[in-house]
């Protein structure tokens, strides 16, 4: 048993805050989203399109599996040396005229960034690649301080103008189709002409006009980052539209918010990720724009450059050896595009900045499974494994889901204490619960299923199920926790006898079985219809036959 000696500071992993929590448990949120057929159709169309593109360009690379292994290995190395790499990164950014800020959580990051913007005197900022800033709900904080932020990524702009939330990592407006987007533009961009069509080209042109004005008039930009290189202090943003490059080069002040896990050791490591990312993400061989900058270059680009290194729960994730590989994520969104649960429920059902399979493991880890709201997320998967197959850095998402479910079960019964819970607001903290129906079911099943004798005995009760099922041999209603099944499906009536109980009296009847099947030797039968078959009076060689 470990004890904290008197006078020692209690070091505990601090959990994340911001837009990381579900407001409603996943099953309920998903149920509501399932009713939105337009959204589902939009998502289905988009994910299937990207999925196909990804598969094609991945197939082109004979060394794709080696690349995945390399990506995974680099990330493991990063996690093992994160503190040193971050310090190296800080030293190099500073040496080249940039300033590094360390933010423990969302509140701290928001305070730092808002302060930096205020210092410039500007009340407008433009943003690009802003996932980390969404995580910390930066826009709300800026707005509360009289600063207006404009998203410049087309899809993020659509979400922002529509007063909506992003629902996909790569395509935040995936749930909207072009007609819906046209309506949003007409309503929210007053300069737009009524004649605007829903053609992608027209829509892009309208957005371009709207944004150009912002690019030329705004002196502060806030960006995210795809990678930060420790050995040089270089930051990287990859994108498709070029709007990011405008943000990164035109303003005088550039503030980049980067999760601490985005670091890579060397410039060479980018080789691996710049192959893995675009192919997994947009299904392209290379993304159209890759911007890199290292501190300040006098007379060229922003002259005031800041990096905010964001923890917000990441150290807590790192402290769990079984779950930490969630931090390997390069936000390519490939796992979303193949996930059948995401496809049906859509991104909003996950309730946080991070939707889909990665969200189901990352959000509850960042906030701590002790957060009541996120406890339903690890269950939002059928464990089909498609996400693991597709992940460019080989994150074993199904295994982490199972690990988190175990943590959740133990947390519910007070068997697992989570130090970070003390740092979480009281309303989100969970108190141990009395055994649920599910617990009792699992306990009982464990007792029965851990003994062949008890199984045999329990199966003697199968005919009871037949009584429940009645004449049509289907059970259509069950009580309690298993009731969800029969809301949607029937359950077959159980057989009269289990295999094990039947076998006890028939194991030795091999010869009768062979004779009945008449299958000794090859059967050179023509492919004809069953009407031609001569029914034979097979011996009673089958359990549960109803005769």
């Amino acid at each position: 048993m470990s004890r904290t000696a008197l006078g020692m500071p209690a070091v505990r992993p601090v959990h994340g805050h911001g837009r990381l929590h579900t407001a409603v448990p996943f099953p309920e949120a998903a149920e509501a989203e399932l009713g939105n057929t337009q959204m589902r159709a939009n998502i289905r169309h988009a994910t299937h399109t990207i999925r196909g593109k990804r598969a094609r360009v991945v197939e082109e690379l004979p060394d794709w599996e080696e690349l995945r292994s390399a990506g995974s290995a680099i990330k493991e190395q990063v996690m093992a040396h994160l503190p040193e790499l971050l310090e190296q990164f800080e030293a190099n950014v500073t040496a080249r005229g940039g300033t590094v800020h360390w933010a423990r959580d969302a509140e701290e990051a928001n305070r730092i960034i808002t302060g930096l913007v205020q210092a410039t005197g500007s009340t407008d900022v433009i943003k690009i690649k802003s996932m980390a800033t969404q995580e910390i709900a930066l826009d709300d904080h800026l707005e509360a301080h009289g600063i207006t932020a404009t998203e410049t990524d087309l899809a993020e702009l659509i979400v922002q103008l529509g007063h909506d939330r992003p629902s996909h990592i790569l395509v935040p407006a995936i749930h909207k189709n072009r007609h819906e987007i046209r309506d949003i533009f007409l309503e929210q961009m007053p300069e737009t002409d009524e004649s605007l069509t829903a053609e992608p080209r027209d829509l892009a042109e309208a957005a371009r006009k709207h944004l150009r004005e912002k690019f030329l008039s705004t002196s502060v930009a806030i960006s995210g980052a795809n990678f930060g290189v420790a050995e040089t202090g270089t930051l990287t943003v990859v994108e498709s539209e070029g709007n990011g490059r405008m943000c990164l080069t035109l303003p005088e002040t550039l503030i980049t918010v980067m999760g601490i896990e985005k670091i890579v050791p060397t410039f060479e490591d980018l080789e691996v990720f710049l192959q893995l990312l675009p192919r997994s993400s947009t299904g392209e061989r290379m993304n159209p724009y890759t911007s890199m900058w290292t501190g300040v270059t006098p007379g060229d680009g922003p002259q005031d450059v800041h990096v905010v290194l964001l923890d917000n729960g990441r150290s807590a994730v790192l402290s769990d050896p079984k779950g930490r590989s969630a931090l390997h994520c390069i936000r390519c969104s490939a796992c979303l595009n193949v996930c059948p649960v995401y496809e049906q429920a859509g991104g909003h059902a996950y309730g946080s900045t991070y939707p889909g399979p990665i969200g189901a493991i990352l959000s509850p880890q960042l906030t701590g499974i002790t957060s009541e709201q996120n406890a339903s997320l690890p269950y939002a998967s059928s464990l089909c494994g498609a996400c693991y197959d597709v992940c460019p850095v080989k994150i074993n998402i199904p295994e982490i889901l199972v690990h988190l479910r175990d943590e959740d079960v133990r947390t519910q019964h007070g068997e697992r204490s989570d130090d970070g819970a003390a740092a979480a607001p009281a309303r989100t903290r969970r108190t141990p619960k009395a055994p649920s129906q599910m617990d009792l079911l699992m306990k009982g099943a464990s007792f029965v299923m851990s003994s062949g004798r008890r199984m045999a005995l329990a199966e003697k009760g199968l005919p009871l199920g037949r009584v429940v099922a009645g004449k049509d041999r289907a059970i259509s209603w069950l009580p309690g926790v298993v009731g969800g099944w029969t809301d949607e499906r029937d359950i077959p009536a159980p057989p009269r006898e289990s295999f094990r109980n039947w076998w006890a009296g028939h194991a030795g009847e091999t010869d009768q079985r062979l004779a009945a099947d008449g299958a000794a030797g090859p059967a050179d039968v023509p492919h004809d219809r069953p009407g031609d078959a001569q029914p034979v009076d097979a011996p009673h060689d089958r359990p549960e036959e109803d005769r």
Binding site: P378, S450, S451, G484, P492, F499, L514, D517
Partner: protein, 282 residues
């Protein structure tokens, strides 16, 4: 060879005919089948629901039952249960701090095959009609279950075996590799999403025009069969072991593995399937 049958809990209790079909096929090849009586369950239900502590006695029991038994290889007619032996049991043992059990679990898993794996990789069956005398004159489509496909990498083993059965007309299932939405307790923890996934799968199955959908996991088939029955779809489900076991002399009457896979209200009254063959609730 002496082959130990791991019937798996769901097949044992709900689909005994699938276990029997497995026995019949193996006996036809001249092997002796034994049933280690101590067997219970692979622990997948507990693990996937997060009850790792409750999974431990189940794992311990399985390892004990199959270590004690005398056999050359073990077989199970379920991809997900075999995957669970290899992927989950050692993990559960380690989580419980029992390294010895983990090693024993790995040894048992290393000698346990999914049925199509055993038939193709070990017993050299490539042509079910010729080598097993299998005969099943129906149009079927094939759904590969996730764990067989992704954890065991079964590839086309099951499908190819089915295709080699005399009389079978195999039609391709669109988006076959997508999950059917079962997922164990997922199907009642997230019933709406699970049902939406099943709906998608059923739509694809119907589009093939097949009489039956086959696969290698009784649980997925139970879920799909149950949803199809509720919907009044005219398509049934059947485990591929039963298709292999069916012969001209003793043809499978298509009524199970899922009894209710038979349409309760035939959706397509003009179906060409003779009713005594397609079965009906008896």
């Amino acid at each position: 060879m002496r082959i130990a049958l791991f019937a798996t809990c769901i097949v044992d209790a709900m689909y005994p005919r699938v276990a029997l079909a497995t026995v019949r096929v193996l006996e036809r090849l001249g092997h002796e089948v034994v049933f280690p009586p101590g067997q219970g369950c692979c622990s997948q239900m507990h693990v996937n629901s997060g009850y790792l502590a409750d999974a431990l006695p189940v794992v311990r029991n399985h390892v004990k039952a199959f270590t004690a038994a005398d056999y050359d290889v073990a077989v199970a007619p379920s991809g997900s249960c075999v995957a669970s032996l290899g992927h989950q049991q050692p993990m559960v043992a380690r989580a419980g701090g029992d390294e010895e059990l983990a090693a024993a679990a790995e040894a048992v898993a290393g000698n346990t095959y999914e049925l199509s794996q055993l038939l193709t990789d070990v017993l050299g069956v490539t042509d079910a009609a010729a080598q097993l005398g299998s005969w099943f004159p129906h149009t079927v489509t094939y759904h590969p279950s996730c764990h067989g496909m992704r954890l065991l990498r079964l590839g086309d083993r099951q499908k190819d075996l089915v295709a080699s059965v005399a009389g079978v007309e195999l039609v391709e299932l669109p988006d076959a590799e997508e999950c059917c939405g079962f997922g164990g307790t997922f199907s009642f923890k997230n019933p709406d999403v699970s049902a939406a996934m099943a709906e998608e799968k059923i739509g694809n199955i119907e589009a093939t025009g097949a009489e039956l959908c086959t696969g290698g996991d009784a649980s997925c088939l139970m879920h799909l069969g149950g949803a199809m029955a509720r919907r009044g779809t005219g398509v049934g489900t059947v485990h591929f072991a039963e298709i292999l076991a069916s012969t001209r002399r003793n043809p499978l009457e298509v009524s199970g593995p899922v009894e209710l896979s038979i349409p309760r209200r035939p959706a397509r009254p003009s179906s060409s399937v003779p009713t005594q063959t397609a079965g009906g609730p008896r």
